[in-house]
Amino acid sequence: MLRRISYAAAINEAFIAIMREKKEAFHIGVGINTPWFVGNTMTGLLEEFGPDRVIDTPVSENGVTGLAIGAALAGMHPILTFPRMDFMHYAMDQLVNHGALLPATLGGRVKIPILVRAIINRGGEQGAQHSQALQGVFMHFPGFKVVMPSHPYDAKGMLLQAMEETDPVIFIDDRWLYDEQGEVPASSYRSDLDRAEIVREGTDLTVVASSYTVVLCRETLESLPGAPSVELIDLRSIKPIDSACLLRSVAKTGRLLVVDATWPKGGVAAEICRIVATEGFASLKKPIAVISLPDAPAPAAHSLEEKYYPRASDITAAIETLIG
């Protein structure tokens, strides 16, 4: 049997493997050398690779992002970490106008191979500026690949694969997943970046989730009375979205529930609805249902957080409405 390790340990293993295998790789970002910001995902890196390749920076997100992009243009392959997605707003100019848009704007003459590692860190009464999940924002911009692994095997394999890419990849990990255990080979391996995965097969309803909502949905489905035949899809990649996989599943089930733990407007759930409405409308037996965050900033109070984030009961209720 394979070893089981945590999601955080899988990220750490990938980083160590990348740094050993690839001399162009280096880490840079605000707070990457303290567990306070990055959990145990950076353990041992500074010790093994030294401060030239593991650069904890001033609190200067936009400038540091530009540095990473410049280094990428000049032949390096930076891993740029943001300990919270909330802090990426400062860096949006460099990320979008430069990292995402420049390569095509310059006629494809240059490449910007950069791995942007963005952490979702929310809950615990941290409030609206310390809780954002921005996958929907990043999927908007042409030029990025956006991935969100839901389990340790993918966390490691997708990081290793992301370092094979020549375009910017946004890798989003959620601290709510860090303690999730899973089977992970000790060797260095790669997982596809652009394919969805069917977690369990079913015939009556398709549920699409990503990152931590995959865990939430899987656990909810396992405990559902009557064992309805529900197909659960782990998106894995937010951009590109594996629409073929979604459409095949909806063609079979005729019903779709999208679970996406971020704001509802113009994001991942909206995009999935667009794909299915434009390309799979004829298969639908019922209107698509969406579970997302409310269109409101994250509240601090625990009593409000409990209502704000999707719960198992929301999923159960939606499933009942769709196939009850």
Binding site: N33, F37, S60, E125, Q126, P297, P299
Partner: protein, 317 residues
């Protein structure tokens, strides 16, 4: 140094003590895990909030950061509403939506606290722009740490405030660290006030733990801002006694030494002023004890206030 009137000295002492005792109350409730939300305590830095805010009118604007309790209290914010907010109660100053990092009281023109480093600095300058456009003689104060001067937006704001002649006092509380990173690992030239003066602002760099020095220096700068509408920067050297976030002393993570914490504890702004007042016969030990008792009562009242507060609820966001 010029003589400060006795009433003001006593007010500075009271303001600092109020901050200290409220923060110690929070530390206790964090340790017992009755407070869940992340709290950045101000213990050790009280002289700066007290010394600066002593010079402010109620209509002057204050904007602050994740470490804002001291500024709010010194500006005259209601302690009950602060305590309730840190417990995320409905009767908190932000109705439980913000928590410790998002303290506010528009009634006293304490307009916002942001949890994004440097986020509130340009906004403070913007309140100065409003005062200029409305031809009012208010002063805007932006409180922030040395870490905020790592951000580009700080320098953009300093430049534009100087250019447009905005009535802003930038107060940099240089506690020598941004989380785990000492300033010398973040800035090649660590003299912040010197860099800012190159933008054409009046600047000063002082011992932030000497509350009298903070008071008189801030007074000079604020009077000048009110008269000329030109921005200024006050850099106060200080140290946080406790963790970046939470109630522990942060000695086990390797980024700072116990001797440094001890050294700075000896430079306690409250003890310093108290000793000087005792020496000068302005204060006696029993009077000091009564003052502490008064503030303990206030903290006790705030504790009851937050206990009476409900957890916020909504049917729809």
């Amino acid at each position: 140094m010029e003589e400060i009137n006795i009433m003001i000295l006593m007010s500075l002492l009271k303001s600092m003590l109020k901050i200290r005792l409220v923060e110690e109350y929070f530390a206790e409730k964090l340790t017992s895990r009755e407070i869940r939300c992340p709290v950045h305590l101000y213990v050790g830095q009280e002289g700066i909030a007290a010394g600066v805010c002593q010079n402010l009118r109620t209509d002057d604007y204050v904007l602050s950061t994740h470490r804002s309790h001291g500024h709010y209290i010194a500006k005259g914010g209601d302690v009950n509403a602060l305590v309730a907010e840190v417990f995320c109660k409905e009767n908190g100053c932000s109705h439980g939506y913000g928590g410790s990092m998002h303290i506010v009281d528009p009634k006293i023109n304490y307009l916002a606290s942001s949890a994004i480093v440097a986020g509130s600095i340009p906004i403070a300058a913007g309140t100065g722009l409003a005062s200029k456009l409305k031809n009012e003689d208010r002063v805007s104060v932006a409180f922030f740490g040395d870490g905020a001067t790592d951000e580009g937006v700080f320098w953009e704001t300093v430049n534009v405030a100087a250019l447009l002649e905005l009535p802003v006092l930038f107060v940099c509380e240089n506690n020598l660290f941004s989380t785990h990173m000492p300033i010398a690992l973040r800035q090649a030239e660590i003299d912040i006030h010197k860099k800012v003066s190159a933008f054409g602002l009046e600047t000063a760099r002082i011992e932030g733990n000497d509350v009298e020095k903070v008071y008189t220096t801030a007074r000079g700068l604020i009077e000048r801002i009110r008269a000329t509408r030109k921005p200024a920067l006050l850099e106060c050297l200080t140290f946080r006694w406790l963790a970046h976030v939470g109630p522990d002393p942060d000695l086990d993570i390797g980024y700072r030494k116990k001797v440094d914490v001890e050294k700075w504890r000896k430079k306690c702004p409250i003890q310093g002023l108290k000793n000087r007042l005792l020496e000068r016969g302005i204060l006696s030990e029993p009077e000091y004890g009564r003052l502490v008792g008064e503030i303990e009562t206030l903290v006790g009242d705030a504790d009851r206030f937050r206990r009476a507060g409900r957890d916020p609820s909504v049917t729809e966001f």
